[in-house]
Symmetry: none
Subunit: 206 residues, 4 copies
Amino acid sequence: MFIHYDGPMPQRSPQHHEERRDHILAAALRVFSRDGFQAASMADIIAEAQVSAGSIYRYFPSKADLAAAAGKSVFLPASAPLRQIIESGEVVRPTEAMGRLFAGLIERATAGDTDYTALTVDAWAYAQRDEGLRTELAEVYNGIRNNLHILVTRWRDAGHLPADADTWGLTIALAAVMPGLLLQRQMLGTVDAPAALTAFAVHAGI
Amino acid sequence: MFIHYDGPMPQRSPQHHEERRDHILAAALRVFSRDGFQAASMADIIAEAQVSAGSIYRYFPSKADLAAAAGKSVFLPASAPLRQIIESGEVVRPTEAMGRLFAGLIERATAGDTDYTALTVDAWAYAQRDEGLRTELAEVYNGIRNNLHILVTRWRDAGHLPADADTWGLTIALAAVMPGLLLQRQMLGTVDAPAALTAFAVHAGI
Amino acid sequence: MFIHYDGPMPQRSPQHHEERRDHILAAALRVFSRDGFQAASMADIIAEAQVSAGSIYRYFPSKADLAAAAGKSVFLPASAPLRQIIESGEVVRPTEAMGRLFAGLIERATAGDTDYTALTVDAWAYAQRDEGLRTELAEVYNGIRNNLHILVTRWRDAGHLPADADTWGLTIALAAVMPGLLLQRQMLGTVDAPAALTAFAVHAGI
Amino acid sequence: MFIHYDGPMPQRSPQHHEERRDHILAAALRVFSRDGFQAASMADIIAEAQVSAGSIYRYFPSKADLAAAAGKSVFLPASAPLRQIIESGEVVRPTEAMGRLFAGLIERATAGDTDYTALTVDAWAYAQRDEGLRTELAEVYNGIRNNLHILVTRWRDAGHLPADADTWGLTIALAAVMPGLLLQRQMLGTVDAPAALTAFAVHAGI
DNA sequence: GATGAATGAGGTTTCATTCAT
DNA sequence: GATGAATGAAACCTCATTCAT
């Protein structure tokens, strides 16, 4: 049994542990996205990760933990594009920012052999009965909303919206559009993101 | 030479069959909404329906069929409020119509012992790997969009929108908001529907 | 529900009962020969016979009874050809008689939609654990042996065998050949009956 | 950079696997011979083997596989006595060889707690609807016939049969006798093997 | 730390039979 | 007599998890 490792050479470093964990989680994500959280069996994941049954339980104490970790890793990176824009100080039309966020999601979804879009929808269902994952998800979505609100405010302050515009209302409406677009992609195969966002931009002014 | 048997023929009304089927399906919906499609076991449903194990299979040949029927019955009634408005000829602000639709969903969700909102999110996940249910869902959502477009057009024709307004873009944007609001309710417990729809109404004019 | 009946016209004659029973048994034979005694389900037989579930139990109290009746009806007609020869007084070479018997079996096997050869092998297995069927089978095979012995004796008396020939030994040897030939047909698809019987005839003189 | 794990590696001998498999198969043979292939339940076999339900499926993926393996192990050793005689170079009267073969079958049948004779008849029935087992059986029976033909030829060459004797015909006739004798034992309880084979020997000269 | 064979509760489904109509 | 919906025990098989090596 050989394991690839390219850091320094401690016999059993925490780094080694984390690498192994990531390796297993990546395999789990592939299997989960292919078969769904519940249909995926530990045996499938074990085979995909090329790890022994006993070993996997050293890194994830149960299938539920593995699923939770998978859900977490699905949501976490979602808000990166917005943070990036905020940190750059760029003044961007909020719909444009959301367009980039959505494009990023889709790109990540189709890049490798893990379908993150499918996983996201699965995670929604799973989170309904898993408080930990639900909290995780809530935080991520609140983060997105807060970031989006910053952009909306900035857009108003740049003079593109009236001074008394309902920035929170606009933020909420815009943020609420994302799951719908994502779901549309999964169910219908088509994506109307540009049309929806353009209409937003033209009529609501954001 | 033929003999016709005309002794007492057992009366088996087709109505009875449908009643029994509905009874089982209702029980399944309760269990599915409580535990999720896959975590729910046939034994749970059998217990909830107070039916024998063998009996349930006369009405639904497999658990998958039961799940499909459950999914179907979740989606089907969703679009009723819009159809009602259209048929009444009423000229309603589209955001107002969507507000009613959402309110209807929430009301139905919390009325009995079947949480239809949870079931809807589960069905999204399930549909990703079940073509039949996916088709069903696609039809229902297309129906909603088409109905909504009728209302948007009517709203424009009533002079509330410029003649060259992008009715389809507005429709898509507005329709895409629903899953997000529904999801928000399930994940965060809060509902920003009024805020979101009001913002829409004020800024986009619909 | 129409039942064909062409005797006189009593409302519920014993004859009607027997006809119905035969109809069911014939259906059972078709299903049993197609799927095997145990793999065949009562539902299959019910469907094949176009009879109601309740009705079939009026004629055969259990599946075992139906199987026993089926086995019985498989063995019974087997010995007819030998009896016919004996009654005709014809002096026939015993191997020739066995050839006719075997030909009769094969012909019956392939005539209709009931494969009696397959049923026979199934019945052997079934009879191992069903005393009634085993007794039935024993009687039929003893009958065949006794009849065959008559033919062998007659053949010796006609001067074709030495006066001190072991007629019982020859009978037993010849009778024992039948199951082997039948089995060969079922397993290998080929039939060496002529070769085997000719060799018998040439070398053993019968 | 690769790290080789060289801690204690669990010893899993392939021998252990085969032993366990044989243990399970032996238990299955006992149960199958007692109750028949289909009436025997996996639960029965599991109990007889004193193995867990899950474990048995590691060695035999399905009941059908277990039945096939059982059938195989029933037929395979059947032809050993003939091969032994051939290899010893001994010139034996073919009927004598068949007598030994039959005696061997009966002895094996009654030695332990597995009735191989019953299993053989069950396997015939089973093989009618299982191509794999049918092929297996065909090969074994062809092997027996070929070996028997060698003995018949050898017997002729030793001057005990005329030079132009139909060796194949005699072989086929003699081989066809075995199933009949076996069946007779199972159905009637008696065995006429000596009588039948002696008659063969005296009259047909083999 | 790592392995994978073993576990056994629990999953879905079938099927011979009964009985109210 | 006839019907077929209902029954429920029992069938085969899976799978998350453990533990001796």
